[in-house]
Homo-oligomer: 382 residues x 2
């Protein structure tokens, strides 16, 4: 069920009413800008409302079955930054692009990131058109302009900025999470063949900016409090983080115990009534860098974060092949196809393929929390 | 003098009034979204107004001396893309970062670009704080976190998108310029030491996103019509552009004959009453890629451009050292300092240095057009 918060505002306790009014309109930006105290007050007020038998009966008129609700992109996104925070992903992908040096010298010192494109971020369910681009066949001198033949998904977590940071001021690591409103699922669709030709020296561009899909639900950090986890335990030979990227609190609880999955449904599987094929299953607490470290790094040069900015974590992969968060890793660059339940195989995505990302937190003694779904189906190139 | 267009709207001919009303508010986005016909009609109406002796007398009350006007950022910018379209700049810089391979294999096939940051774009005159970042001293294994010691400017042209493009649709090269509202000056401040450590494999990030300065005036493409120039003449050994990036019209007149300059005023020079030192002088028609090619490439994968998006051209450098558009090139990576008029020298920018970009078009028989100024002064790191 979906609750219409604005309609139910009069039923909320006084502290929850102002943030509830900020939910008016199509996007959450006004609520997000109010900061963590306001969203905490709203969450508490909503919880009281729905736990009180009398009030909940009154609120029932503002609940709608989710199946009848069209879910839009929740946030008006300003800047979108994509990190590269899984060392397993970076190593696996680096090995394919640069066998001599999979991991760059900077990787263990800073959370590598690049700016992505906000204009092509779409909500779950929007179709994804296969991009064309300049692709150079192996061994050829010249590229051609053709539909991507190596279209991939990337299983990521997204984080939305609530309170803005101040231009020129670095956010201290232990204040970093106060700028996070909440998280979503994010599919950073990637055309590997376009990427291979374009990405040097300034990074990925057209290989990524044709579409990025996010889940329409934002789960606040507060809701995730029971699922905090220690930061990734670095091997003793790795350098310690520089002071502005480290704190006792971050080491103890900078991680988030979210299990992420990616599933595939091809048009053949759909036609035959077959269920989805799980491609990826990984955990966000396996990331080399935490959300707090990403924000501390991002602002360490004074770069301002604004309400509604989106940070992608980068592909969430674990140490084992079945934990890899994209087909490039799973198929070792296309060399080892994945069998599908209908007797077919996949190296990269085909037209009609649907990719479904899910996320879930669970812990003994707590109600599990789902992150909703992030779906997209590949349409043929024009 | 500055004309208050909205206040003067009633004096305009009917076709100019609707676009004049769209100039209400702090930013030009509403006007830009109306497309090239509307801005052409407004330009024509304004020209008639100011050329008619009777009307011009009535309009005089809406003219204000520019010295008394605070110039803000003209546009609410969505996405900001920065290109790398000068082959002279790319070769000079590439040689410093990668002596073995200054120009990547893709350079002559596509206009290389990356996404920049919109949140830190400021208007001319805003101070620029020297960024801190992770810097690895030459020969060291580990980086430190320190103020940049190699802070640079980049002399660029910016282009604002007016009419949006359609998601999933490539813009044909001969329609590309209909999406450009106009141009400005752009200083892509760059911290070279931060850039050197962070930029692989995903491109520049914190080395650039602390600040980008734009001039507050937007000069429409129509105003630049008399200054069109042929596209850069490629050496015969270079590959011809792929069909979606080439057209007879682009070859004949895809260039813009804009002369760009960068000047330096240090605090010592200012104290001694010395005039500015010219650092760069280059021409936009020397760019390897035209604006139309940039837009055709940017949308070639279906990536949507929105009203208010900003494209940077990349540093505009010519073939000779004195035509180089940044200190990294001018000083050969800091090895050859530039003497300043007060007996000092510069490798990179020092605190108190002001950089002033200007642009100008001139042609026999036409009134020259200036692009205004793009200024920024370096403040000490915090």
């Amino acid at each position: 069920m979906v609750l219409d918060i604005t309609a139910a505002a009069a039923l909320l306790d006084p502290l929850g009413r102002e943030p509830a009014e900020a939910c008016r309109g199509e996007r959450l930006n006004a609520l997000m800008a109010l900061g963590p105290d306001a969203s905490r007050a709203l969450r508490r007020a909503l919880s009281r409302l729905l736990c009180d038998a009398t009030l909940a009966r009154q609120a029932a008129q503002f609940l709608a079955p989710i199946a009848g609700v069209e879910l839009l992109s929740p946030v008006n996104i300003g800047d979108y930054t994509d990190f590269y925070a899984s060392i397993f992903h970076a190593t696996n992908v680096g090995r394919l692009f640069r066998p001599d040096q999979p991991l760059m010298a900077n990787y263990k010192w800073l959370p590598v990131a690049y700016h992505g494109r906000a204009s092509s971020i779409v909500a779950s369910g929007a179709p994804v058109r296969r991009p064309r681009g300049q692709i150079r066949p192996s061994g050829a001198d010249a590229p051609g302009y053709a539909p991507s033949a190596r279209l991939d998904y990337e299983l990521e977590l997204g984080a939305f900025i609530g309170s803005a940071s101040v231009s020129g001021q670095a956010v201290p690591i232990d204040q970093a999470e106060s700028h996070v409103f909440g998280v979503c699922l994010l599919n950073d669709w990637s055309a590997r063949d376009i990427q291979a030709f374009e990405y040097q020296p300034l990074g990925p561009f057209l290989a990524k900016n044709f579409a990025t899909t996010i889940s329409p639900w934002v789960v606040t950090l507060e809701a995730l409090a029971p699922f905090r986890a220690p930061a990734f335990e670095r091997p003793p030979e790795d350098p310690p983080s520089l002071p502005h990227l480290s704190s006792a609190r971050n080491t103890a609880a900078g991680g988030l115990g979210i299990e992420l999955q990616a599933h595939l449904v091809s048009s053949e599987m759909r036609a035959q009534g077959l269920g989805p094929l799980r491609l990826s299953r990984s955990r966000f607490d396996q990331m080399y860098w935490t959300l707090a470290q990403m924000i501390a790094h991002h602002t360490s040069n004074g770069c301002p974060l604004r309400t509604g900015d989106l940070l992608g974590s980068g592909t969430v992969s674990g140490p084992e092949r079945r934990q890899a968060g994209c087909l490039l890793e799973i198929t070792a660059g296309g060399a080892e196809p994945v069998p599908t339940p209908n007797g077919g195989a996949r190296t990269f995505l085909e037209d009609g393929d649907e990719v479904i990302l899910t996320g879930r937190c669970s812990r003994e003694g707590f109600v599990p929390i789902g992150l909703g779904e992030c779906r997209g189906t590949i349409m043929p190139a024009v």
